[in-house]
Subunit: 336 residues, 2 copies
């Protein structure tokens, strides 16, 4: 299996990207990695850092998409970027999946236009695992700031396949973020989506989920428009971070609390891991013909390594094959 | 000063409402309290619980608005309810402020239609203090699920007056919840509101606030449409609750951690207070001619007591006078 990796995008590219690639390769030498970026930069950064990238291919690209570039730059003036070239290679079958820590809008646009959408999926969505005590896949997490009820239904279908295959959850519970639990709550969008989600037999819809219930294991897949999803994802991350800071302050109070903290180290570290978004790798873009993983812009080596492993799982578990199967079934039903 | 109190609305009415009234009166005997509700129920519940309500007036009402009742029931079939009667008394000048733990939609509708809006305010908003390390007034917190950019601007103006008067914050920082920091981020609503907020010299606009930054003291007033605001308020509450649960679990690990917890008691309790929404009393409805405070549906005695004190502050600090002054100034400017 070959993972195509955008070596040039992200806040800490290329160093942390290359470190992550080397770590992934170190743990699983059978994963082939194709680095896309400027060959001179890649080799010199790797050499300086003592990274072993001997067994990785490098494919040359000549520009980098910045966080400020317009989404469509990936198919226009920056189609020769590491992201544009990587997506092109993916669409041509030169690799099985693509991982990038670059500009989200450009990655989604490029994935949709270069790799193309799965049949029956009008809007691909970006899923993100909320850093909570239990994993919750939030979809859409920011790519599509306006959506239709049909889009939300497909997010539910794709998210269910993902959580059942990747996390082994049988009949994942699907919830819709809303301002109240009743079916009549929300904007016209949420009301219409509630009806569609209730009727869809391919998913296990558990109803509307209020903000206060999100942290308490109420669902496995959470659908939302990308505006609300983005606010929810970032607020959850922010609150988790604040929580860890606050606990740290408490434990640094005096010698005894520091001692007890050291005795609870395993449990505290476990909490840290849960609330640390880099543990979950990247965000899968669901609804594209080939797996594309968006790694966090601020990804360090560990986050990149995990995003690579996530891409491997996406391919191995044939998430796309299963999504296509369900979408066909739905389309046959609606024809019947 | 006389506070009119809806004795019959809320999950734990009338007992916890009466207890809260008695506590408020116990601490500040100079506050007059006018209870609205069924006189027999009120007197018998108070007697059974040994509450001293001798010095409070009781005004009879004959029904109660439930959480399921339509907002407009407060002016139609349930205008004789404790909420409807209380609002009527307020509009007639029989008291200085009204506190209710009842149906939010009905309270907002009743306040707007019976007590009426302040001149220049098209949409009153419900403010809520986010239970974070520092107080942040979120406005709107759920009353108006769709708003215009003008509404958001007025929420910013009213919220600034409130935070400067009640919390003594000089030039409160106003932020807008958005899916990114740049002025061009968000839906057309957020983009248009950004422009208006930037130009308004009566407020101290600090820009768009992303979810991840909300917990880190980035602003004092946070404006949002009521849908997003509701999700943010409840998610913040839910994450705070989860955080306290998680800490409790950690501290119950063994004898040493329990000992260190007992030594950090003051600091842990301080955290509990900060993340406990009942500490902040109720949610002020801003933009109504007289102060109306919405107490949480699940209010206990302490929350009601704090909501009463909040109503007192609202009156004493003449929040409405100041809002009117700023709104007039803005309207004069736009005429000039």
């Amino acid at each position: 299996m070959k993972i195509i990796l955008d070596a040039m995008s992200g806040d800490y590219a290329p160093l942390e990207i290359l470190r992550g690639a080397a770590q992934a390769k170190g743990e699983y030498p059978e994963i082939d990695i194709l680095l896309v970026g400027d060959p001179d930069t890649i080799t010199s950064v790797a050499r300086k850092d003592g990274l072993d990238i001997e067994k990785m291919e490098i494919y040359a690209s000549s520009s980098v998409i910045s966080m400020e570039d317009a989404p469509l730059s990936v198919i226009h003036d920056k189609k020769d970027s590491s992201m544009g070239v990587g997506l092109k290679l993916l669409s041509q079958g030169e690799g099985d999946a693509f991982v990038s820590a670059g500009n989200t809008g450009a990655l989604l646009a490029g994935a949709s236009l270069i790799v193309r959408r799965l049949k029956g999926i009008a809007r691909p969505g970006i899923g993100a695992i909320l850093p909570l005590l239990n994993p919750v896949l939030l979809l859409d997490s920011g790519a599509n700031i306006t959506v239709t009820e049909e889009n939300l239904e497909m997010f539910a279908v794709m998210g269910s396949v993902y959580m059942s295959k990747i996390y082994g959850i049988e009949r994942p519970r699907v919830g819709q973020i809303n301002n109240g639990a009743e079916p009549t709550k929300g904007l016209p969008l949420q009301i219409a989506a509630y009806e569609r989600l209730s009727k869809n037999e391919n998913i296990n819809f558990v109803g509307n989920i209020e903000g206060k219930d999100i942290p308490f294991d109420t669902c496995d897949v959470l659908v939302a428009d990308g505006f609300t999803g983005n606010v929810v994802l970032k607020l959850t991350e922010g609150m988790g971070k604040m929580m860890l800071h606050t606990m740290k302050d408490l434990f640094y109070a005096n010698a005894l609390t520091m001692l007890s903290a050291s005795l609870m180290k395993t449990r505290i570290n476990d909490l840290k891991h849960r609330f640390d978004s880099s543990e979950h790798g990247g965000a899968p873009i669901l609804g594209i013909r080939k797996p594309v993983i968006k790694a966090h812009g601020g990804s360090d080596a560990k986050a990149i390594k995990n995003a690579i492993f996530q891409a491997v799982g996406f391919v191995k578990d044939d998430i796309n094959g299963e999504i296509e199967r369900v979408v066909n079934e739905l389309s046959d039903k609606s024809k019947a």
